[in-house]
Symmetry: C2
Subunit: 195 residues, 2 copies
Amino acid sequence: MAATETLTAERILEATEEVLRRHGPAKATVVDVARALGVSHGSVYRHFRTKAALREAVTKRWLDRTSEALGGIAGDASRDAETRLRDWLAALFTAKRRKAGDDPELFATYSVLAAEQVGAVAEHIDELTEQLTRIVADGVASGLFRSDDPGVSARAVFQATGRFHDPVHAGEWDTPEADADFEAAVDLLLRGLRA
Amino acid sequence: MAATETLTAERILEATEEVLRRHGPAKATVVDVARALGVSHGSVYRHFRTKAALREAVTKRWLDRTSEALGGIAGDASRDAETRLRDWLAALFTAKRRKAGDDPELFATYSVLAAEQVGAVAEHIDELTEQLTRIVADGVASGLFRSDDPGVSARAVFQATGRFHDPVHAGEWDTPEADADFEAAVDLLLRGLRA
């Protein structure tokens, strides 16, 4: 009974990730998750009412790991806006590359989940774009950047660097040119933002 | 026999496209192409030695249609470099959108072929990047643009606008925001290129 008493949403999500990794997104069931935790599937359903809700939560958790790490950079007032923009984009590229390269099975699993969880992905992109907007707005306020609408500029920067963070481009992240391409893109975009 | 006498590579490629559209890229055979033309498969092999060569040629023809249309804009000295860059990117987006929207089956077919024909696609991208390089270099020569290396800048512009021409993003071309997103991207990139 100890297992059920300490059963938290976080523990269920950890187990779900492990089950997804082992069985793949097509076969993983709530029963598998419950079995991995040594609890009844009813206990799992007390935290997540449906299998769909559990899948959404585990996808959100995976996406949030990236946005939380980046939030620190976006809000770091000790760096000027240009440095922050560079660091933020580099951190995003590094995080995505690491996810894809270190654990390709899990990355493939989450790519399948993300394709299902259109809403969670849209929220994630909105959150990242808001972080970028904050950097651009700070740059405008400090006179470093020029932008009629920081939100529009941030969205443009995010989309223009899609090659370096959108999972559909994961196959291009390990090419010999990837780092030089990334630098060239960021240089050009920063020139476009400068006052 | 009239059919064989006038059998040109172009006629075979046209028939191949039609056969691919009808049977799909997995099932289409050289025998189907020969049958559609009313010739023996030996006649087809006289022009294309293998099925792989035929598939490569038909893919190249599809890609070349886009680059030929754009080549006219890249070389049009009557437009200044900025107008040419804008027109070129808009024409590329329009062409890709039309291909995807007007005939989705054929577009899906060519997406499968393109994934096979890595060499043909790389050549196509090189050709488009060369056209862009020409525009950027002309802009630098006329004092409109600044770039240490027009080739690097052109590659950065091409990649930064991937959302608006790379087939992996075809699903995003019909969203209500697509046109505004495209304009914002081009504006930002042009600001980055201006002297």
